[in-house]
C-alpha cells in the first residue's frame, strides 16, 4: 500500500484573499515579521496496490484531473510505502 501526500496551492500569480486576511490577523497579534501567507490544500490518499509505478501514475492523473484546477492551482506530491 502507498500513501500519497498532496499539496494543491494557488499559482504565485493568483491573489489569495484568505492568506492576506490571515497575514493581517497575524500582524494584529504582534507577529510583525510575517511577510506573506498563502493558503493551500493538503490531501492524503491511500492507494491499495503494491505497484509503485501504477500508484504514481494514478496520483498524477488524480491531481491533474480532479484535485487541482490548472487555471489557478499547482500541485506537488510525495508517495511513500505504508503497511
Amino acid at each position: 500500500m502507498f500513501k500519497a501526500k498532496i499539496f494543491v496551492s494557488l499559482k504565485p500569480s493568483v491573489l489569495d484573499p484568505q492568506g492576506q486576511v490571515i497575514s493581517n490577523a497575524l500582524h494584529t497579534l504582534g507577529y510583525k515579521d510575517v511577510n506573506e501567507t498563502r493558503v493551500s490544500k493538503y490531501f492524503e490518499i491511500l492507494m491499495d496496490t503494491d505497484d509503485f509505478e501504477k500508484a504514481e501514475a494514478d496520483i498524477v492523473n488524480i491531481c491533474d484531473k480532479v484535485l487541482a484546477n490548472p487555471n489557478t492551482e499547482v500541485w506537488t506530491y510525495q508517495l511513500e510505502g505504508v503497511k
Binding site: P17, Q18, V66, L67, N69, N71
Partner: protein
C-alpha cells in the same frame, strides 16, 4: 411554430433550478428538469446550468459536478453548437469542465454577497444579448462567495480581442469602474461567452429579475433574446 425547449439541470445542492425552470415556463416555453444522473438530455434547444451549491461545493465549486453523467452530454451538446447558460454555480461548473475559460475564485473580501448589482452589456453579438443595447446597465441580483473571475493575462487579452466579455460590473448609468466591482473579478467581468458564442456564463441571476412581482425585470430581455434567436431560425 413550435415552442423553444429548455432543459434545466438539477444537481444535489442546486437551489436556483426552480427559478430557472419557472421563468422560461411562464414565458410559454417548454421546460424540463434533467437530473444529474441522467445519461441523456430531453431534446433541448437550450440548457440552463443553474445556481446553488452542487455537491456542497466540495473540493472546489463545480469541481465534482463536472464529472456527473449529464455534464458529459452537456459538453457534447455545446460542442455541437447547442446553447448553454451557466448562472452562478452554473458558471463555475462550465469553467471547471472547460466549456468556458478561466475560474471563479473566492471574493476578494471573503464575504458572501447577496444584493442587487448593476452590470453593463458589453456585447450584443450573442444569442443571449442581441435585444439589449450595448452598454445598457441592468439591475440583476448577485448571490455568491466565489464569483471573483480570474483568468491569466493572455486569456484576458483573448477575451477582450474576441469580444467575449458579455457583462461587466458597473454603476446605474453603465459606467464600468473598479469601485463598482463587488468581488474583485479581473477586468470587472460578470459574464463571458466562449469563442463560438453559444455558451454563456454569468455570476448575476437574470432568472431573479424577470417577473413583474420582483423589483427588477432587467433579465427579461435575456430570455426574450434567446426566444427570438430560435424563432428567427425555426
Amino acid at each position: 411554430m413550435r415552442k423553444v425547449r429548455f432543459n434545466v439541470l438539477t444537481f444535489p445542492g442546486s437551489n436556483c433550478d426552480h427559478d430557472s425552470y419557472w421563468i422560461p415556463k411562464i414565458r410559454e416555453n417548454e421546460v424540463e428538469f434533467v437530473w444529474h444522473k441522467e445519461t441523456s438530455l430531453k431534446n433541448p434547444d437550450i440548457i440552463i446550468v443553474p445556481g446553488g451549491f452542487s455537491y456542497g461545493d466540495y473540493l472546489r465549486c463545480g469541481a465534482i459536478a463536472k464529472f456527473s453523467p449529464i455534464m458529459q452530454e452537456v459538453k457534447k451538446f455545446a460542442d455541437n453548437g447547442g446553447l448553454v447558460i451557466g448562472i452562478c454555480n452554473g458558471f463555475q461548473i462550465l469553467t471547471e469542465c472547460g466549456l468556458l475559460p478561466g475560474a471563479l475564485m473566492m471574493n476578494k473580501h471573503l464575504h458572501f454577497i447577496c444584493k442587487h448589482q448593476y452590470i453593463a452589456v458589453q456585447t450584443t453579438n450573442t444569442p443571449f444579448t442581441h435585444l439589449y443595447e450595448k452598454n445598457q446597465a441592468l439591475d440583476i441580483p448577485i448571490a455568491h462567495k466565489e464569483g471573483n473571475y480570474y483568468i491569466d493575462q493572455e486569456g484576458l487579452k483573448a477575451l477582450q480581442d474576441n469580444d467575449q466579455i458579455v457583462f461587466r460590473y458597473c454603476d446605474e448609468n453603465g459606467n464600468v469602474d473598479d469601485k463598482f466591482n463587488p468581488n474583485g473579478a479581473i477586468d470587472n467581468i460578470a459574464g463571458i461567452v466562449n469563442l463560438k458564442r453559444n455558451v454563456l456564463g454569468m455570476m448575476p441571476h437574470p432568472e431573479r429579475a424577470s417577473e413583474n412581482v420582483v423589483s427588477s425585470q432587467d433579465g427579461q430581455i435575456l430570455f426574450a433574446s434567446i426566444e427570438k434567436w430560435f424563432k428567427d431560425r425555426m
